[in-house]
Subunit: 197 residues, 2 copies
DNA sequence: TGTAGGGTAGACAAATCTGTCTACTAGACA
DNA sequence: TGTCTAGTAGACAGATTTGTCTACCCTACA
């Protein structure tokens, strides 16, 4: 099992070993938490030597930061996949992603909120990476609100962010049976009556 | 410093040593996270012998569960302190507690959400204690909505819970300048126009 | 006076954590 | 052929983790 005959499919891309580490870390950190998963476990499950690991990630926190950025990349890709459609529909579709994620087998809430809970210092690189993702998402929502002709996109983007975080929490800790309905109700209550429909 | 001439003021109450452990754990767990704080650190700062600690808390997880329950007790006391007043005012007052807490020096978000992030297994006693607190709070809000004559207290209690969690997250991670305003706007947007004012 | 309860101090075991370092292997390429 | 690169395998150090156990101290109380 030791890394002989490794993934040929990865040749030419970043680095086979680095990718395996990143994938394994993403899986384990999300499923069990950052502090609960040790380096030894990651390199064992990724089938990578310790020296190789420390070549790509000089310290564990570097890996955690890269993990957060990887999750951010995945999240943005999912949202970008929504594509062009009427702004109000797009907003609802963004929130539907929460329900989609919550329906996945290994769902364990929002990776950014979970990671932030483990890093008390707001100045820590991991927290900063989380902050970057949050600012991007807020800006994305604000843009959609402007396109929707919302009279106060700044405030409503704040409220939608609040609702998004709350729904991520609820879908994780409370697992409401009617999550999709709850999402619709919440967002529509915030956006108010539609002008064009 | 060793515990000779300990707090005389505590005599007759639970147990001086146990109380000191609980207070220290509450402070450290909240400020730095559960996994990040070790037993050795807690007993050192509490000025308690290791044997004494393990007498009251057979394992660390027992202490963590007690910590969550202690936070629940403190949270309920704060909400109970709101007292009798018109239901809508009471709801707004409950949410104002978030802003009050966020204004405190060592604020680090919601202790329940932070702790939950460190315990992946929903069946774990710590998670169950968190679930109990959340159900209690949801029920409290629902009661206020019924008293307010809300036509759909169940759904609106769900949405208010979502908003409460989201606001706790925002007040922690985003630190919006106008938090009190954001809270008012969010809650009023959810409750809709007041009938009696 | 004797005893029981609550507590202290700290050694110890066994595991686990991060991070470093040495020695080796296999393939690509000039 | 020789060299460079990416990687493996794993010992090791040093700190830290939870939890157990022994020996002792002090005070209240019968």
């Amino acid at each position: 099992m030791a890394g002989n005959a490794a993934d040929i499919t990865d040749i030419g891309r970043e680095s086979s070993a680095r990718n395996r580490v990143m994938d394994t870390a993403t899986k384990l950190f999300y499923a069990e938490g950052v502090h609960a998963v040790g380096i030894d476990r990651i390199i064992a499950e990724a089938g990578v030597a310790k020296a190789t690991f420390y070549k790509y990630f000089p310290a564990k926190d570097e890996l955690v930061r890269a993990y957060v950025q990887n999750q951010s990349r995945l999240g943005r890709a999912a949202i970008d996949g929504i594509g062009k459609r009427p702004a109000r529909d797009a907003i609802l579709a963004v929130f539907d992603l929460v329900a989609d994620a919550a329906a996945q087998p290994g769902y364990r809430g929002c990776p950014f909120l979970n990671a932030a809970a483990e890093y008390p210092d707001p100045g820590h690189p991991v927290r900063q990476a989380i902050g970057e993702h949050r600012r991007w998402k807020h800006e994305f929502l604000r843009g959609l609100l402007v396109a929707d002709g919302n009279p106060d996109p700044e405030t409503i983007a704040d409220i939608l962010t609040v609702a998004g975080d709350g729904l991520l929490i609820a879908s994780h800790l409370d697992k409401p049976a009617n999550l999709r309905h709850l999402i619709r109700e919440t967002v529509l209550q915030i956006l108010g009556p539609s002008a064009d429909k």
